[in-house]
């Protein structure tokens, strides 16, 4: 199936300066990212904060521009669209935010905010807007009668449903969900994860799901990419990544994730050290400062993302040593 959205060699630098007179150096948020997502597919992005997950989401949506490379939506480059065409394009791609409290305008009713997306793109005739808002609210499991209320009258989980209804209003083909459940309680998280899974099926959406909760990603996603300091270090079908990780960082990440199934008293292998600064990443493999397998080669060149199995790619010089280790309980 042809992909809905593709990232081609995406690179994004944020210029920054250390101190007033310090040397100017770029923060490399993304480096050479290649990714494609098809209909009905949910791709999970995992990695530590600052590794570029949200930047990737923003660029795919056209809310930020890459420094290098490009994004293709249904085969056409986003940067070829300008002004009104660009805004037209936007209705096909939507965003669900992490913070259910900051993502809704506190001063306007939730119905009006959902209706914005309908009105902007004349999705339905003006007379049918209230009915369409009601339909969307029902779709995300809320009573249509809540439309006139302000966001402050809703709980976090309800707001997240409203934000999802708003994102669905323009009938998008592609959705980026940036940590949509991290701010929610476990029992509410489950409701939203189920909702996203249902919507994916019903509407045949392509979805990019950004999260640091590996259990949620495993449950919801069909494919997973693992990022470290702006690069994809591993990619593959979700179940394989979680049961048979190949990159040492993926293995460490899985080991660091607490689990109910882990026998009591047994703590995972703990990775030492801190995430290096993205403004001054290590030479060669960025993970080598924390990697137990690092050798001299790892400092001299960046390991390429190489195929290690059907649909599996990993970026490690010593991937032959890592097979059969680790995995999420």
């Amino acid at each position: 199936m042809s992909p809905v959205i593709e990232a081609l060699e995406l690179t994004r630098n944020f210029p920054s300066r250390s101190g007033w007179v310090g040397a100017k150096r770029d923060v490399w948020a993304l480096r050479g990212i290649n990714l494609s997502i098809s209909r009905g597919e949910t791709v999970g992005v995992v990695g530590e904060s600052g590794c570029g997950k949200s930047t990737l989401g923003n660029i795919l949506l056209g809310l930020d521009s890459p420094t290098g490379g490009g994004v293709r939506f249904e085969g056409k480059y986003l940067h070829d669209f300008k002004g009104a065409h660009r805004r037209q394009m936007r209705k096909r791609m939507q965003l669900v935010f992490q913070d259910p409290f900051g993502s809704l305008d506190p001063r306007r009713s939730v119905g009006a905010q959902i209706a914005d997306g309908l009105r902007n793109h004349d999705v339905v005739p003006a007379a049918e807007i209230p009915a369409e808002v009601a339909r969307l609210l029902t779709l995300v499991g809320l009573a249509p009668s809540v439309a006139p209320r302000r966001p402050s009258q809703f709980s976090g989980g309800q707001r997240q449903r409203i934000a999802i209804a708003r994102a669905l209003a323009p009938r998008p083909d592609f959705i980026v969900a940036d940590e949509p459940v991290s701010a929610l309680d476990v029992s509410i998280q489950a409701q939203i994860v189920n909702l996203l899974a249902d919507l994916r099926e019903e509407l045949d959406l392509a979805m990019l799901f950004i999260s640091h909760d590996l259990h949620v990603v495993r449950h919801l996603c069909t494919r997973v990419v693992v990022m470290y300091l702006g690069r994809i270090v591993e990619e593959g079908p979700a179940e394989q990544i979680f049961t048979a990780p190949r990159h040492p960082y993926t293995q460490a990440l899985l080991a660091a994730t607490p689990s109910l199934k882990r026998p009591a008293g047994e703590t995972g292998k703990v990775l030492d050290g801190e995430l290096p600064s993205p403004a001054n990443p290590p030479s060669g493999c960025a993970f080598r400062t924390r990697c137990a397998l690092a050798t001299g080669d790892c400092a001299s060149a960046v390991p390429p993302l190489e195929t290690v199995g059907p649909e599996r790619r990993t970026a490690c010089f010593h991937a032959d040593l890592t097979a059969g280790q680790g995995g999420l309980q």
Binding site: R86, S187, A190, Q191, H215, A256, T257, P258, T267
Partner: protein, 619 residues
């Protein structure tokens, strides 16, 4: 109509009455403002001239009313025009950035560099003196102030998620500005408006005095104040009247803007009132202290003071922590986990207070009730016997002091010792919590440390005096997975080093509970609903909520996650009986009565009266 709206309308009504006088001046039976009456110079108030006569014998009352027309027209006119222009410039500059920003914002800043008087004179020389010119001059003067305020607010609001959501939806930028950004920057705009009107009235008086504004003998408040100052020794009252009018106007305007903000605010804030106005209630322990090994909480309740009395937030919290145990508090957000921790340390926010129950805690001097201590009595305990680690280390550390100094202070506060010795201890502590190169890091400021290191520094602070009880409120929630694992390992190590320390660990992550705690109290809607050892509770939950919570963790292979329908009831609208009843699949008639915490044997408790039936069915 809400309270805030009523209050706003009352003040607006008052303002309307006052405005009516100058508006109706031509038809009011006022004395002439211009004709001189030399024999009555400086006469005091009389039946004919209520406020007396001025230096030319003119009636002061009618001059004040007529003067208001000029003064208020200039002040409000210029403040309003400047607000419109400045807001447009600020919005455009703050939203579009780049060249628009330079043109809109930076250019107005040139105006700020010019002396106000010079600028006003320039405008007036070009256009000639008079009320209209004065308004134009002041408008030019005020525009940069608005531009800057609106620019800053737009930058801030423009970065928020709901504005980004509008962009993602493809809304036209001008529509976003008008519909989404503008309403959200109204509060600073209102403040700026009331400030400029006040300064407009004052500037009008200065410029009129120089002959650049209202031309005498026509009255204005500014002219009157200037004239009265020269005649202060002959008739001090002359200064009083226009000053009162001026001060009254500014005050009224401030109140109205303030009320307007309340009305426009999306949330009607709960008013706690100033802290010092509330009575500091010292609760006397009504029970003799029992023997406790470390901490025993009995029936603890916390409430918030509202206008219409107090509202319960937590009710009937009860658990026990023995030396060496780690008690995890788990539950949904708003279930009262944080409040319970704060009540233990006497750090409840101002509007909240302990409304019942006990928290017995063993100190060197005997058992005390933490729930009944005053602020002074808490002093020696906090940071010494009991200490706390917060979720947000960045907010809990003082940003302007070096890490080492903050640690040394907490050590010396409870154990006086020379500076060198304290410093040596600090280095040792930082090493213990795993901060690399501690000799150098003690000179670091909090912002120079990474998130994980800041969390370590705060943990160092909490364990500096080897506390008997450590309370940690979601200490790993804000951290990355690999760093979170490091901090959890640090907690385990600290417990090993100090085997007598009891820990209360607040979290909403059940897997973390499994990793770190020996015992668990599950909280729901302000109550403990179940407790016991982690192993037993997780293997065999005896409350439907615990069971549902464990089932909703996305670790099973099930196609769909178990989710609990509905939402947590809000404080103030708690169900009479079992608080979980509206979401519970097993609710029966008997559940409509308040549920006590039942002992289920083996040191376990549950707040479900049907637990025995339900679990017999299962078995």
């Amino acid at each position: 109509m809400t309270r805030a709206q009523r209050s706003l309308y009352i003040w607006l009504g008052l303002a309307a009455v006052l405005i009516a006088f100058p508006l109706l001046a031509p038809v009011l039976p006022l004395q002439p403002t211009i004709g001189m009456d030399i024999p009555h110079r400086f006469a005091g108030p009389s039946a004919a001239n209520w406020l007396g006569n001025d230096e030319y014998g003119r009636d002061v009352l009618s001059r004040i009313i007529w003067g208001a027309r000029a003064s208020l027209a200039v002040a409000f006119g210029s403040a309003f025009c400047a607000a419109v222009i400045g807001t447009i410039l600020g919005l455009l500059g703050g939203y579009f950035r780049g060249i628009t920003e330079v043109l809109a914002v930076r250019s107005t800043e040139i105006v700020i560099c010019l002396p106000p008087l010079l600028l006003a004179m320039l405008v007036i020389t070009i256009l000639g003196a008079g009320v209209l010119t004065l308004t134009v001059a002041l408008t030019i003067l005020f525009v940069p102030n608005y531009t800057r305020v609106v620019y800053a607010a737009t930058l801030q609001t423009g970065g928020l998620d709901f504005v980004k959501a509008q962009e993602a939806m493809g809304t036209h930028p001008l529509k976003i500005l008008a519909r989404t950004v503008l309403p959200n920057i109204v509060p600073p705009l209102l403040v700026q408006f009331s400030l400029t009107v006040a300064s407009g009235i004052l500037l009008e008086s200065g410029l009129s005095f120089l002959g650049l504004g209202v031309v005498p003998p026509a009255p204005s408040w500014g002219l009157m104040i200037r004239a009265a100052r020269a005649a202060m020794d002959q008739q001090p009252l002359l200064l009083l009247w226009p000053s009162l009018a001026l001060a009254g106007t500014v005050l009224l305007l401030n109140v109205i803007c303030d009320r307007l903000q309340d009305v426009l605010s999306p949330k009607t804030a709960a008013r706690g009132g100033a802290a010092w106005l509330r009575r500091q209630i010292k609760r006397t322990p009504d029970a003799p202290a029992p023997e406790v090994p470390l901490l025993k909480i009995e029936d603890l309740s916390v409430g918030v003071a509202l206008e219409q009395g107090s509202m319960g937030l937590t009710k009937g919290i009860a658990f026990e922590v023995k030396p060496g145990e780690t008690m995890a508090l788990v539950g949904e957000s708003g279930s009262g986990k944080t409040l319970t921790g704060l009540a233990m340390t006497g750090l409840l926010p101002n509007a909240l207070s302990v409304t019942g129950g006990h928290a017995w805690f063993r100190t060197e001097a005997g058992v005390v009730d933490l729930a009944a201590l005053t602020e002074e009595e808490f002093g020696p305990l906090r940071g010494n016997d009991i200490s706390m680690v917060f979720q947000d280390a960045a907010a809990a550390l003082n940003p302007v002091h070096r890490i080492g100094d903050q640690l040394a202070e907490i050590i010396q506060c409870h154990r006086p010792m020379p500076k060198q010795q304290a410093e040596a201890e600090v280095v040792e502590l930082l090493r213990k919590v795993g901060i690399p190169d501690p000799e150098r890091r003690i000179r670091a400021y909090p912002f120079e440390l990474s998130g994980g290191q800041r969390q370590r520094a705060m943990i160092a602070m909490a364990v500096a005096n080897a506390p008997k009880l450590l309370i940690a409120d979601e200490p790993t929630t804000a951290l990355d997975p690999t760093i979170q694992a490091q901090i959890l390992r640090l907690f385990a190590k600290l417990k090993e080093d100090n085997p007598g320390m009891g820990v209360i660990f607040v979290t909403h992550n059940l897997a973390v509970v499994k990793e770190i705690a020996t015992h668990v109290s599950v909280m729901y809607a302000g109550q403990v609903v179940e407790q016991g050892t982690v192993e037993e509770v997780f293997a065999d939950p005896r409350h439907p909520y615990t069971k549902a919570l464990l089932a909703s963790v996305p670790e099973s292979d099930a196609e769909r996650l178990e989710s609990i329908p509905g939402t947590v009831p809000q404080p103030g609208a708690m169900p009479e009986g079992c608080r979980f009843a509206p979401r519970c699949g097993h609710a029966a008639a008997a559940c409509a009565a308040p549920q006590p915490l039942l002992d289920t044997g083996e040191g376990r408790t549950t707040r479900c009266l049907r637990w025995a039936d339900l679990w017999k069915d299962v078995a």
